[in-house]
């Protein structure tokens, strides 16, 4: 049986849509974001800053029912869509 690509893509795809909607990114389509693309690099075309990080963190916590620890570890989860998806999956067990 073939794996359903929709299911496989579900979490990263949802995160990309959430990112664009939450941060009101104009001119960026969810499907144009690469899952391994750095979110906060200085030259990132997404142009995220610390304020958008908080917005995105709150939105992820609320939507996926997970909580990032307050110990500074959240930074590493926010590297890319892939790392966020991995965190959500591990947090949900």
């Amino acid at each position: 049986m073939k794996a359903n690509p929709d299911t496989q893509q579900a979490l990263p795809g949802q995160l990309k849509t959430l990112l664009v909607e939450t941060l009101r990114l104009e001119g960026v389509k969810p499907e144009d974001i690469d899952s391994s693309e750095p979110l906060f690099a200085p030259d990132s075309r997404l142009g995220l800053d610390s304020l958008s990080a908080l917005e995105l963190l709150s939105a992820i916590e609320f939507k996926f029912n997970v909580v990032f620890a307050n110990d500074g570890s959240a930074r590493q989860h926010f590297e890319s869509i892939s790392t966020l998806a991995a965190f959500i999956e591990s947090a949900k067990g």
């Binding site: 908080l54 963190l57 709150s58 939105a59 609320f62 909580v67 959240a74």
Partner: protein
Amino acid sequence: MRGVAITGLGIVSGLGVGAATHLTALRAARSGLRPLSLFSLPGLPVLPVGEVDEELIRGQHPSRSVALALLAARQAVAGHALAGEGLVAVGTTTGGIQESEQHYLRHRGQEGRPDRQLLKHHPAGAIADVLASEFALGGERQTFSTACSSSANAIGYGAACIRQGKPWALVGGVDSLCRLTYAGFHSLKLLSSEPCRPFDLHRQGLSLGEGAAFLLLEDEDQARSRGASVLARVTGWGCTSDAHHMTAPHPEGRGAMEAMTAALADAGVEASAVDYVNAHGTATPANDRAEALALAALFKPPGPLVSSTKGSTGHTLGAAGAMEAVFCVLALGAGFAPSTAGLTEPDPLLSLRHVPPGGLVAPLDVALSNSFGFGGNNATLVFARAAP
């Protein structure tokens, strides 16, 4: 400085009666809001409210507010003999007005009319009088009427009295639904036609509620020496005034932020130590915006988890501060942050870290509770988990 232990809790609201019932309801994110049935007012819609089930207080006392207060205070005292010169402090906005309204509707203020018993508990201070009499409590007696921060201030004052050496303090608040409040909030266009949705993009106002909550405070060492279990501690209290408007909060939440800052300073903890905030969160556009601004100004990202339990109880005015103090104590004790009932689509303009739907199981050490009243009467309390 003396530690202030919370050794007793009592609560009644539209969710039911007792701390355990409320923890179960919060875990289920249950809403106690249903269409008003206590009275009807010509020309006004029947809106969802947090109304106490009649069965819980039937025949308990002629005054609805006193009956609610007695029910909650009895649980908080739990049969413990309160000896010596302690404190009874009650927060309320309208006291026994529910029966005064019935008298007015029957007799329209005509001189010499019967049913004068209906007016007996009209003064706001009557509730504390009845409690003192019922439990044979000597010592100091106070009534706070600072709008929606009334019972938060009663608790803060009680904690201050314990620090100064009083042996115990029975503190809390009560308000019953009444026509004055219902019609008044309706006139101010602050009531939501659907169950309130704090911090939601589609929030349209608050839902009123009623009930009572009381806490028994004692010196921590004394409580431990008598073998009482310490449920949590009151560690800080701050109260400030907006000096801005009769009903609207300061648009940037200036007084709210000052109250939180003062409470944290009183508790001697940094903002970063706060794990959970039980927000005032009335679901009015103005309150939620101002409170979110104040929280964002005070807490560095990502900040504490925030929720409003008014989506479950409605806004119980003079009882709100005490009810939400009980919820903070339950949250610290159970390691559970309740979510905001009614919040489905967070307002993107409010920079808040909402407790995810269904609540969050996590160790919580410090909780902060906000109560911001009309006239810019702000109070914040800080609670800490009891040492094991």
